[in-house]
Symmetry: C2
Subunit: 471 residues, 2 copies
């Protein structure tokens, strides 16, 4: 963070720190094309790395992007690299030598450096680490060993800790000495000789206390910390629940080893929401770049779930072909109302499963009251099914008045709709709960799987009723 | 926040601050039932409000919940009230007098007090405000005038600002004086005489600087602030992008009027994700309590979109009944493959629309490259459709070998699947983009609307091909 003490008279406005995007983009692309590198450097010098990343991300020409990237000072370049979208980062990184990459990673906090190294092709990680100072390489090597979606995987090893017998003045001295490594302190952790965290000191306490006060007298207790192996969504939940700006991470012996800060939590919450949303839609992906990702990558991420839908649909086709074809031969009009029943059951099933998945993700699903949840969802399905059944049956009667089978048709539509929709609500509710209980991702159960399953169920029930009525 | 200086030797552990949930829950319920209120008070005294809220939320008996709530000291009770789920809050609030509510709201930060008043039945807001000190009532009244999903609606009016000619020592003095109102300072805002924000001072700068340094010399510039009327998701995006812990909010004259802090942003991100997820699933709701919400409320939140599905499905039923019934009469087997085509097109359409909706929400959709996005999604749809078409056509051939119409059937299945799936990908991509461009919620376009539309499209295309082949 730079301080610019000149002209403090200039009033702040809504966003003077941002480059006016389109203008700057065109200018920089144009100037880079013309080889006016000094002008580009000047334009980029005062810009925030987040703005530069936003500017480089959508650029059409990788060459221009790479040339602009080369013009950035190292501390900006490293920040930009950790902020651009994954596909752009991969492209930039591919053009950097191991030594250059090691230099950029050194500029970052250990958690961001770890994230950067994690995105490298596996064989490059050791060669890049070898170019770093031994101590840092070891620290990052340790961080890389933690699963990326746990407290250990998202924590940083930069933090300020003070012994519990320290005074406020001594604590401030320690912060000052650590300042180069830990620019964003937030909270100071108070530790005993075993490195157990015995208290937490928000910076404001230090500002407000006298220099001779003992930190043990003003610190917050009891301490809430998270273990290394805690899943990242639970870590996020802890910071969110207690409105913390940072939380200490402890190892198996309860010793302080790092901290997770709120900015990481914001990213985790967004990442977890994306994961759930993609799973509900039946897309297998960590991140998507709609403009850059190739058709092959897209098909790869989506084909598995589409194929699941096709295969379940083909089972249904087989059953209809072998069992129910006569039913259709006797009453072709049945086919006219098949789509509306499938679609409605699918819609209600998706509603139920999505609500359950979101409640599990937000931690609001009460497993003590799970039977009540299921019963209410089933009742809701029945109510929705009855409403839709009456409407659809009435419509089928009106549309096909005069047809000889009209009463059978309308009755099959009514019963088929009620049963299918109720069943869809039950399946949609139960499937994610069962997945969760089996320690699998409940969002997967809310996606195409539940929809396809409900399609099969709805159609079969409808046709069974129709066949029974014909008999 | 309380500081407990005694026994600092006790080591921190993973979560000593949390009540061991089930035990405490049972104890408190039991003790409350037995009238051992002093014991309950003692058990609750050291607990964090977030833990108490988590404990009260799932309680089956409103009476016990209310009795426990009454045993809380006011500052804890107010925090608990702002942390429980909406339905539980409504229930607790209904049992409190206007004076009691006003007392609790006074204990909260203005943003949380505003949130609390917003949940009241409309006629109670003025009567509760009337019970508050005039100045606070006016401040909260102003905040209530801002739409709840804008910077003005989520900001708090508690912040610390210092004149730009102040020294570090004077700034610390101001923080000390404001401490009762602003316990969590994070950043100090530096203002000129017009109350324009000319710089931002993270607390760590004050800790590190000498007492006589001028704040203007050490503050961060340029300042990034947000206008009152900025939508909350954009505010969240600003804090997230720049890794801010707080951001100043300014009025139309660029004057400092409040701040948004990172803990609100975390809630906003989660709320926006929930909104999108519910919209994709076709549920109209701000918040869901799966265990408590009545069947009537559930049906109300879901019926509109289910009905949309039914009505579009009935249009399709009408078309099939009047136009395509002969096609089915000639070849009943066509009906066997209708579900698989509908389901597959629906799945692919949901994938495309969800990806676009999420990209818009995350701000990663590049509108400069929108044609490329659409083209790639269409190509992806074609590739998926071709793959599924070949598989389904082959299956239809194998399943119905020996049937006289077998070639026509398989060909109709092939062409129907390819066209429907490609069309679904295009509709799924375009519909949210069009909604967004028309300033409507793109997530609504990703939900049942796009699925139902694709059902109609897929079925019609399939049947058109089949009819053409019969002719």
């Amino acid at each position: 963070m730079d301080s610019t003490p000149d002209t403090p008279e200039q009033p702040g406005n809504a966003s003077p720190g941002r480059l006016p995007r389109d203008v700057a983009l065109e200018n920089i692309v144009m100037m880079t094309g013309l080889g006016r590198y000094d002008d580009v450097r000047r334009l980029l010098a005062d810009a925030h790395p987040a703005d530069i990343a936003e500017l480089l991300d959508p650029l059409d020409e990788p060459r221009v992007r790479h040339r602009v990237f080369r013009l950035l000072p190292p501390e900006t370049a490293s920040a930009v690299l950790s902020l651009v979208s994954p596909s752009v980062r991969d492209e930039l990184v591919a053009n950097l030598s191991d030594r250059e990459l090691a230099g950029l990673a050194e500029e970052l906090d250990t958690d961001d450096a770890t994230d950067l190294l994690e995105t490298l092709p596996e064989e490059r990680t050791p060669t890049v680490l070898a170019e770093m100072p031994a101590e840092l390489a070891e620290e990052i090597g340790d961080l890389l060993d933690h699963p990326p979606d746990t407290a250990g995987g998202i924590m940083q090893t930069e933090y300020v800790s003070v012994p519990q017998y320290a005074t406020v003045e001594q604590a401030i001295g320690l912060i000052r000495r650590a300042h180069d490594d830990v620019p964003e302190v937030h909270d100071v952790f108070v530790v005993n000789v075993e490195r157990h965290v015995t208290g937490v000191l928000p910076l404001s306490y230090l500002v407000l206390a006298g220099p001779d006060e003992a930190v043990a007298d003003i610190m917050d207790r009891p301490v809430i910390s998270v273990p290394l192996e805690m899943p990242q969504d639970e870590v996020a939940r802890v910071l969110q629940k207690y409105d913390f700006v940072s939380v200490p991470v402890v190892d198996g012996q309860d010793r302080l080893v790092g901290r997770v800060t709120i900015d990481d939590v914001v990213d985790v919450i967004e990442e977890e929401a994306s994961k759930d949303i993609y799973a509900i839609a039946g897309v297998e992906s960590e991140s998507i770049n709609l403009a850059h990702d190739s058709v092959v990558k897209r098909v790869g991420e989506r084909f598995a779930w589409v194929l699941t839908t096709v295969l379940l649909g083909l089972v249904l086709a087989l059953v209809i072909s072998k069992v129910f074809v006569e039913t259709f031969e006797k009453m072709a009009l049945l086919a006219a109302f098949l789509p509306v029943i499938i679609a409605t059951a699918g819609a209600v099933g998706l509603q139920s499963s999505t609500l359950v998945v979101r409640a599990i993700a937000l931690g609001t699903l009460s497993f003590q009251r799970i039977l009540s949840v299921i019963a209410r969802e089933a009742a809701t399905g029945l109510a929705l099914g009855a409403g839709c059944g009456v409407i659809t049956a009435a419509a089928s009667y009106l549309i096909n008045m005069g047809s000889p089978d009209i009463l059978n048709l309308s009755f099959a539509v009514l019963i088929g709709m009620v049963i299918s929709v109720t069943a869809a609500a039950c399946v949609g509710t139960l499937q994610p709960i069962i997945f969760y209980k089996l320690d699998r991702d409940p969002a997967v159960a809310a996606g195409p799987l539940v929809t396809a399953f409900n399609d099969v169920l709805g159609t079969t029930l409808y046709l069974l009723v129709a066949t029974a009525l014909q008999a």
